[in-house]
Symmetry: C2
Subunit: 230 residues, 2 copies
């Protein structure tokens, strides 16, 4: 069971991207459309604003994910370089840091020294160790940034079309809002349920939390828009 | 210098929240307003839509941050429980896993055995070790979720008011868009510069990347909204 769950957590990069994109994609366009429904008379404006928001949000989040991936890679590469430099030129300092690691996890002085000695025998092995356990950095997948951007962007679009589509078929914003709220809150509940199951928390509690966020955001947007309209 | 930078990375939770909130706050309302500027005649609609989007986005992202923090905590707690259970009831399996860790970082068979023995002497120390180095989980700060929600939400609002405020003072959407684009792109550039400096990548390249994302998102929203208006 342990192995199963750890597997899960590792293979979940794509899933995490989809969750990030869909979570905001379902919520923000839903809330925006709800807000406008309280303030304008035509569904045309809501559709244009909704489409513009989906375009803006998917690009901002998708490219944001790309940038985050690229930054992670740049950061990793610059740290690797520095560790190699330090292992070669500041050996005593790195030995100290390595010993400190073993001291922190609870090894005796004798084992701290001997373990450090063994690790320091191989330069690459030593740097790998420092990267992962001193700095807590995993080697990022180079194709990750691009994949991440696409996953997040597309999930945002898919999510955003759910709350917006009822407005295409209804004549008044209020009717659109009713259907949109029903459909979106159901989708948020289902989405929250599976998202929580993946992260290992109680799926019913998680589903309710996610649905509540959507409802609160939509309610606030509705209230604020009404306020500024009046 | 190393110590300095590591300090930086640890103290940057708040900073990371601000970056998350402000990055989307500057970009998405900017792009939405730009999109609507190409499709509607009055700044009133743009202001209402912008305010609704800022309310929706700040709540969705803020509560999203809260949820992420809570989930992290729940996940950590359930894993701690499981590790204690395993240390007590599946001792041989945990010994295997601990030995494996030491094998992976490059220790000899003898040291693998002895290090495992020393760590396993103290149950709490052993579980702490497994949490951090087998599962890669750090103990989350219990007040983090709430702080994170506020930081992200407020940063989103502050960021979002930048592109929106010109529309309060201009009569036509096109004039509003011009000022909004100038002000927002400058802010994105400055914001991207400092964000990149914090994460340790080239600040000029980072500033250009962040500004480009904003410009592309706004351009796409403008184009898509024009398309749906026609």
């Amino acid at each position: 069971m342990e192995a199963h769950i750890e597997e899960h957590l590792k293979s979940s990069d794509t899933l995490r991207d989809v969750v990030i994109g869909m979570s905001d994609g379902l919520t923000v366009p839903f809330a925006l459309a709800a807000g406008l429904s309280g303030a304008v008379d035509s569904t045309g404006i809501i559709i244009i604003a909704g489409i513009a928001e989906i375009a803006a949000g998917s690009i901002a989040m998708g490219l944001g994910g790309y940038l985050a991936g690229k930054t992670e890679q740049d950061h990793y590469n610059s740290e690797v370089k520095r560790e190699y430099y330090e292992v070669e030129n500041l050996r005593h300092k790195e030995v100290e840091e390595t010993k400190e690691f073993f001291a922190n996890i609870g090894l005796s002085e004798e084992l701290q020294d001997r373990a450090t000695e063994e690790i320091a025998k191989d330069k690459k092995q030593w740097v790998d160790f420092m990267m992962k356990y001193e700095l807590g950095l995993d080697k990022p997948d180079p194709r990750r940034a691009t994949k991440s951007a696409l996953n997040i962007g597309i999930s945002y679009i898919v999510g955003g079309l759910v709350p917006l589509s009822p407005y295409f078929f209804m004549h008044s914003p209020t009717d659109g809002l009713k259907i949109s709220a029903i459909v979106t809150l159901i989708c948020l509940f289902i989405f929250g349920f599976f998202k929580s199951r993946i992260t290992g928390i109680n799926p019913w509690a998680g589903a309710i939390r996610v649905t509540l966020i959507g409802a609160v955001a939509a309610g606030a947007a509705f209230g604020v828009a009404k306020l500024f309209e009046g």
